[in-house]
Each structure stands twice: as structure tokens, then as C-alpha cells.
């Protein structure tokens, strides 16, 4: 990049020019290798370790790299700190393209090297930064210690020092490793080797057996002795505080108002506000019941903990968890939502299978939670004014948390 790369062409023919080129080369390489400015970029855990490495304890400034640039146009090194998702990948590519050459990429942590903990059964993570960028240095670890990052920096430095203007830095190319399943490949390769070995060894084994008919292995694996511990009882549930209602009382109040409310009696007997019983409600009562528990002066369920869902083969269950800040009791509603059977089989994976009234009017916090349920399960919330996908792209196919969700990018867990 830049004029330096033309230097050999012009200067080499001139007598003595070679030495000038070499000298300039040495200086430039020395400067490049020792002044590596990273880009401020981080998505998850590794970013914190990257930050730690620039803090007082480890101090990346000793290497002259404390100048974290927020703008990619001034950075030399792209430390890929944290998982790369498919949604983030275009942004990362754009950032990389904006960096002026020579630029380097350091993949920090297991996620960016191979997908790390998110290799199997995952629909959203890019399995390895090599898929989208040419990576120069890999620093494994989850997350790597700051020292490991420094070791990566030093490795990169070695690599830069090897470049000359006769062998200049060149933009590399990403390679597609997204379908590589190292576990299965290794297992397959070994199985083949084993087969060959079995054939080769068959004779020797026969012979051995004939010679030592009552062979017994001398190897006795020693189990690690583990300390024995006593069993410990769980402490009893905390007593009710003033104003707090027991789970049975709450159920009684709701049952009196809504006929459809049912609950597992066995659980109700032991339930406390630490582990509340779930009150199953009919869809048509759902909104009214939520409104009731919110406004009833004895219940005062003013705080929405969460809205989530569970996918069962024939129905969804919408779980709405509410609590009272003031009184301290909780109520969990469980609303079974039958799946719409009228949708033809081939369209089921991509269409909304159930609908339920939205409670955003009562709890503004439900807005984002319902969007999440919509995104993950394909449940429609009627009356929600901004029902968009929240975590996935708007053209993502399917609803990942359904049990029958399939994605061509997903690799099944081998063990």
C-alpha cells in the first residue's frame, strides 16, 4: 500500500538502490510492527478482557497499542473480541473494509476462531471469523487472559516483521469453514483408520490370544477418591410477610372471578412466593385476568417479570410472570394456545400458529417481551402496536425456539 510498494521497482535498478530500499524497509516495518492501533470493537465477554488488557494492571500501552481508535479509518488492527453473529457479520466486514491497509485481524477467543460454545444447534452464530475476514492471528481461550492477548500481539508483530516491500502485505481472502464439523470429521477419519488397523491386526490378535489364553491386563485404573458429603435438607419456605398472600389465596381469588382457572393441586400445596404455582387460564380470560390481578387492591400485581412461551407438540404455553412490588407475592399465568391446524403442513414452519391478546396496554414492559416471543415462537399478539422481530433479521425463515425448527446452517450436536 502506498508509495513504499513502488520503491523496489524504481530504486532497485539504480546501483546501491537495493540498500536504500532495504534500509527504508527495515524502518517502515519496524514502525508498523511496533505501532499497532486497535479498533474499539467488542461484542461480548472477550471485549471485557480486551478492556482489561488496556487497563492499569496489564497496560497494553507498553506495546504502544493503547490508542484504541473508535473510527476504523485510523486503526491497524481489528481485534475480533466476542461472538460474531450472522446479523453482525456484514457490519464487521464493512468495518474491515474501511480500515486502511496494511491491516491485520486478530481473532480473540473460541467464538471467533470456531464458534466456540455456539457451534452446535445454533442458527445465528458465524462459525469462525475466517468465514468473513482473513484472520492473521488466533488467540484461543474463552476468554483468553490479557497476557494471552499480548502473546497474540507479539505473534502478530513477528508476522509483520517478516513482510518487506518486496513481499508486501496483501489483502487476504476469507475461507468458508462454516460447515466444518471438526468433531465428526475427526471421528470419521479415525473410524476409517480403525477399520484398516483391525484388518491388519486381526492376525496378530489371534496369535496373541492363542499364546496367552488367560491374559489379564495389569493396568488397573484408579478412581479419583471423592470426599463424601452429607445430604442437606432444603430450608423451608419463608413465612408470609404482612400483606403477602399465599399461593392458595391468590388462586382462590382468581378462581372466584374466572371459571377457567385451574392449578395443579399438589404443587399449590407446597408453592410459595419463591416457587409459585402456575395458574392455567383460558385464552379468552387471559387479558381480563391480568387486568384483574393488576388492579385488585389485595393483589396489586404491578410488576411484570417476564412473558415467555413453551412449545409442546400440539400447543404453545404462554407463561406470564407477575409480581407485586409492594406486597411481595407472585402469580404465574400459564395460557395454553392451541396451534392453528388449518395451515397446511408445508407452510407451518414459517407462519404464525397461534394468537393471544397483548398486555402491553397494562404493562408497557411487555412490549419487548412479546416481541421476543413473537420472534422466537411465531405467536401473534393482538393489539401490539409494534410487532416486529427483535433478535433476528426480518427475513429470517422460521421461529427458532419451536421444537420442529430446522435451519440448513444448523449442525446437530453429535453427543
Amino acid at each position: 500500500m502506498g508509495i513504499i510498494n513502488f520503491a523496489p521497482k524504481i530504486l532497485d535498478p539504480i546501483p546501491g538502490g537495493k540498500y536504500v530500499v532495504n534500509a527504508v524497509d527495515y524502518v517502515v516495518n519496524w514502525a508498523r510492527a511496533n505501532s499497532i492501533w486497535p479498533l474499539t470493537y467488542g461484542t461480548s465477554c472477550c471485549a471485557i478482557e480486551m478492556m482489561s488488557s488496556s487497563m492499569a494492571r496489564y497496560d497494553i500501552a507498553r506495546f504502544g497499542s493503547e490508542v484504541f481508535r473508535a473510527s476504523p479509518r485510523q486503526a491497524d488492527l481489528f481485534i475480533l473480541a466476542g461472538t460474531i453473529t450472522k446479523r453482525m457479520a456484514p457490519a464487521i466486514q464493512m468495518l474491515w473494509e474501511q480500515m486502511p491497509g496494511p491491516k491485520y485481524v486478530l481473532a480473540m477467543g473460541a467464538c471467533t476462531i470456531s464458534g466456540g460454545p455456539f457451534i452446535y444447534d445454533n442458527y445465528s452464530v458465524v462459525r469462525g471469523a475466517q468465514n468473513i475476514l482473513p484472520v492473521d492471528v488466533f488467540v484461543p481461550g474463552c476468554p483468553p487472559r490479557p497476557e494471552a492477548l499480548f502473546h497474540g500481539l507479539l505473534t502478530l508483530r513477528e508476522k509483520i516483521l517478516k513482510e518487506t516491500c518486496r513481499n508486501p502485505w496483501q489483502e487476504g481472502y476469507p475461507e468458508d469453514v462454516s460447515r466444518v464439523d471438526r468433531y465428526r470429521e475427526a471421528a470419521k477419519a479415525w473410524a476409517e483408520l480403525e477399520k484398516i488397523k483391525d484388518e491388519e491386526m486381526a492376525e496378530a490378535r489371534e496369535k496373541f490370544k492363542a499364546e496367552n489364553p488367560d491374559y489379564k491386563s495389569t493396568f488397573k485404573p484408579v478412581r479419583v477418591t471423592k470426599e463424601a458429603f452429607p445430604e442437606v435438607e432444603r430450608p423451608a419456605a419463608a413465612e408470609l410477610t404482612a400483606g403477602e398472600l399465599s399461593q392458595a389465596d391468590i388462586f382462590g381469588k382468581i378462581k372466584a372471578k374466572f371459571e377457567s382457572a385451574t392449578v395443579d393441586e399438589a404443587i399449590l400445596a407446597t408453592a410459595s412466593s419463591d416457587s409459585p404455582a402456575e395458574i392455567t387460564l383460558d385464552v379468552k380470560d387471559y387479558f381480563a385476568a391480568t387486568e384483574f390481578v393488576k388492579n385488585d387492591p389485595a393483589l396489586k400485581m404491578d410488576y411484570l417479570i417476564d412473558v415467555t412461551a413453551i412449545d409442546y407438540p400440539d400447543h404453545f404455553e404462554l407463561i406470564t410472570q407477575l409480581r407485586s412490588i409492594e406486597l411481595g407475592h407472585k402469580v404465574f399465568f400459564c395460557v395454553p394456545l392451541p396451534k392453528d391446524e388449518s395451515i397446511p403442513e408445508e407452510k407451518r414452519a414459517t407462519s404464525l400458529l397461534a394468537k393471544v391478546p397483548s398486555i402491553t396496554a397494562l404493562y408497557p414492559a411487555a412490549s419487548i417481551k412479546e416481541r421476543e416471543v413473537y420472534d422466537m415462537f411465531g405467536i401473534k399478539f393482538e393489539g401490539h402496536d409494534d410487532l416486529r422481530r427483535i433478535f433476528l433479521d426480518k427475513d429470517f425463515v422460521g421461529f427458532p425456539l419451536r421444537k420442529d425448527f430446522t435451519n440448513p446452517e444448523m449442525i446437530k450436536r453429535p453427543v
Binding site: E147, E194, P221
Partner: protein
């Protein structure tokens, strides 16, 4: 922004108060940074490549997975596959083979360092203490294929 209406007197009162407390608070802040600037003992930096010799990881530190081997290089693995099953992301291939007596022993212990999250569940699961997390952190490389390692030097005993 809706600003509350205040009287002129109040305005001047707060204005003058700020004129005094403002600079004072700034001086307080400055005194802290001066204190740190002139006190080299406060520096906590550990100089990594220089302190390589004295740098020691904690006993429980989880670095790269490695095999526990005795002086002759024998390992304790029985190829039971507990570690493989406990691994959250298939980073371990315990590749069993049969030895000459036809008994199942460890052939190759393949470790995919690239995807290992160093959670330590494998070490916890191993009933024989055959593997451990080595306190090794200088693992950066420019070649991703070097991250796929075979941990055992010898075939398993049996």
C-alpha cells in the same frame, strides 16, 4: 425540557454557590490525580513478556487441556468417553482402539483447542483424573490447524 421558574434571587444564590463549590470540587478531583501521579508506588502494572519467569498462574487456573502422564509418558485414560460426553461443544474426540489383546484402550485423544471454552467440565467428569487443565496461556498462533492437537503421546494402557 421544562424548566422550573425560579426567582432572580434564587438564581443568583445558586449561581454564586456554584461559583464556590464548583472550583472546589474540581480541585478535589485534581488533588486525587496529583496524588496518583506523584506516587509511583500506586502503579500496579504487570509487565507481561518481561515477567514471564515470575508469572505463575493460580493452581486452579484453567488453560489448555492436557493429559496427566507419568515419567514414561503413560496416561491413565481408559477411553470411557465421559469427558467427551460432558463437553458442551464437542471439543474432545476420545478415539478408542483395541490393543493386541482385543481390549478397548485409548488410541488418540484429539482435542479441538479452537472451540474449547475451558469450562473444565471434562476434568470434573473424568473418573480417573487422566486429564487436567494445564496453566498454559501463551497459545496464540497464526495457523488454525495447529490448534487441533493430539494430547496423548502413547496409546492407553490395558
Amino acid at each position: 425540557m421544562d424548566q422550573k421558574k425560579i426567582s432572580t434571587k434564587q438564581y443568583f444564590k445558586t449561581y454564586l454557590k456554584k461559583c464556590v463549590t464548583g472550583p472546589w470540587s474540581l480541585l478535589c478531583g485534581l488533588s486525587v490525580s496529583l496524588k496518583y501521579f506523584f506516587n509511583p508506588k500506586k502503579i500496579v502494572t504487570e509487565q507481561y513478556p518481561e515477567n514471564r519467569k515470575t508469572l505463575k498462574m493460580h493452581e486452579r487456573f484453567r488453560g489448555r487441556l492436557s493429559m496427566v502422564e507419568d515419567a514414561e509418558g503413560n496416561n491413565r485414560c481408559t477411553a470411557c468417553g465421559m469427558c467427551e460426553r460432558s463437553c458442551p461443544n464437542g471439543s474432545i474426540n476420545v478415539q478408542a482402539t483395541k490393543n493386541i489383546a482385543g481390549k478397548k484402550v485409548l488410541g488418540r485423544y484429539v482435542y479441538h483447542f479452537a472451540s474449547c471454552t475451558q469450562c473444565g467440565l471434562c476434568v470434573e467428569a473424568c473418573p480417573f483424573g487422566a486429564i487436567e487443565m494445564a496453566p498454559e496461556f501463551e497459545v496464540a498462533t497464526t495457523d488454525i490447524n495447529s490448534l487441533e492437537m493430539i494430547l496423548n503421546k502413547k496409546e492407553g494402557q490395558g
